[in-house]
Subunit: 380 residues, 2 copies
Amino acid sequence: MSLDEERLARVALSQLTEPADLRLNGLVTELGAVRVWDHLRGERDLRGMKTDIAARLGSIEPHRDLERAQRRGMRFIIPGDQEWPVQLDDLAGSISPVDGRGGVPLGLWVRGPASLDTMARAVSIVGSRSCTTYGLEVAAEMAARMTLAGVWVVSGAAFGIDQAAHRGALAGSDDGRTVAVLAGGADKAYPAAHRALIDHIASVGAVISEVAPGGATMRQRLLTRNRLIAALSRGTVVVEAAARSGARNTASWADGLRRQVMGVPGPVTEASSQGVHQMIREGMATLVTGADDVLELLGVAGEHLIEAPRGPRRARDRLTLRQQQVLDAVPLVRFAPADSIARTAGIGLVEVGSALRSLRGHGLVAESSDGWRLTPLAGS
Amino acid sequence: MSLDEERLARVALSQLTEPADLRLNGLVTELGAVRVWDHLRGERDLRGMKTDIAARLGSIEPHRDLERAQRRGMRFIIPGDQEWPVQLDDLAGSISPVDGRGGVPLGLWVRGPASLDTMARAVSIVGSRSCTTYGLEVAAEMAARMTLAGVWVVSGAAFGIDQAAHRGALAGSDDGRTVAVLAGGADKAYPAAHRALIDHIASVGAVISEVAPGGATMRQRLLTRNRLIAALSRGTVVVEAAARSGARNTASWADGLRRQVMGVPGPVTEASSQGVHQMIREGMATLVTGADDVLELLGVAGEHLIEAPRGPRRARDRLTLRQQQVLDAVPLVRFAPADSIARTAGIGLVEVGSALRSLRGHGLVAESSDGWRLTPLAGS
């Protein structure tokens, strides 16, 4: 059985039912796409599927549909193809508690020059459509730095965080390392206001969908689409999400697939970060503050191991231990005589006198007729 | 041996060395404060302590010092007193890796009407002195809600988050359920700009210190003071902290004492939240977004168990499962005829027609000559 036969059968089957139909998935795993398609076409019923799809069957001509899509710049890739992103195979056996859907897609319609098998290093950045300026900036900045580091950015082309992630990725890489996963056909622009953005992504990266060209965007398809965003990436970053958000659905998929789930915190006074804070609090997501944190968690490359922020290097760090002990005994406000400082420090007066003069040389203590005290430079 | 003798011995010893001196702590545990004081007063040396403190010994008259402090409205409480906050006993054996200090304080100088033994339900709220308006607002709001719930708020009277926490607590409770733990004498105002605030706290709550009245504020004492803030409370909330911050020191003490450490996130674009994000990321602190989260983590009372935020209740939630299935199959943009929706939903046409009319009644779908589509109310 050739890959072409298999492909045509999957083109046909993908048009018969909604994506992520576990009944069809099971049949294809059991019998193979070609046999399932032959059966259905041959007027035989398979576990009640025939009744549901009879009305659609007549209009499907996979040869014609595939050629038509190819003329319009799309291809249909299936498991076994060189370009097939093998990470999608992790979806085998997956099922969403929300709608009972899941599984490996029958195939992917792809529009754009990017080869999906080069996307092994990919992260998805998702979040609220009704986000804040803060969220837009963080998402765009993070996406730009990810693509600069050679990591692809996957998102859903929606309003808000999604589009900021795509735009950031486009700004960060000349070769457009970004993939938009749509819930309708890969030839459609949803939302319509993002037609220019989606066409741009298709011209340098990839716009993909498991729904056949021309397919409409529906709520159910948005949810099943989210599993593809999660599965394509090594990790999912949620930048802003209200308590109830599609981004949380994507994060759940990522979690279920044992991908890294990450969340960017924000002000606790904003509802837009509430869902992210909840995920971090519940231990579902790891807190990340920027691209460096993400790269480290994904273990993308050794050079991205971050240094823990240490604050500005202080004058104090250059002192000997003894000088630090004396400094610690110098009052912040009141001037104190050297013998009082010596008693506080538990160090002999001569040594304290010497240390105080060194500290004055460092600009850390000041002397008056009443004794010594710290300067502002000594901080606290 | 009476508690009064013990008290006077501890008054004397607390004036001989810096607070949290583990050598003195060990001697007191081993011999008792009265015997240690007798020994030192009797010109005998104890493990080299005598040499260090000879200059101070002559000026100490604990009777006189205690009476003088009492005339100025202060008392000195020690372990065994009814008012002694027993949670401080958890400090036995504690030691800071920063300066090798720690241990249960010899006693506490207290200024104010609050009885410290009623403070079993207390939380400390700490953070940067150089904080943002956001941090001030969050700290004040959280503190006010804690005191309203009957929980005491402990902090350090410093600039920034500390003072916002005290002010919030004062605003939230008529009887001033807040305690300021100072690094200098309880009769001193440090910082000086907070004299009015500190005096106000002393008039309704409590200002406390392990340093004798008149004692100066020094860096070393600020660090050892932090262990008291941590130990007095069931948990420590860090509202804002830069990468290197005294608040982190307090959090380390709380962590070492197996108290709950909590952190309030903020914008990742602000350095002022960097230290908090780091603590959450490292698993040292639990993310909290407000007083409800804190009360729940501290298990203060059953009525404070929070409900996970669920977002606004949606029209969708009132639908039958079948109606939801039909709704999920209605396009977002394009109008689709009922038979197409029926095929997508996998439900018979008659039932779909009935469901669509109900959905129209709910304002969730709109009908045109081309069929049906979702309304904005249906959201997605």
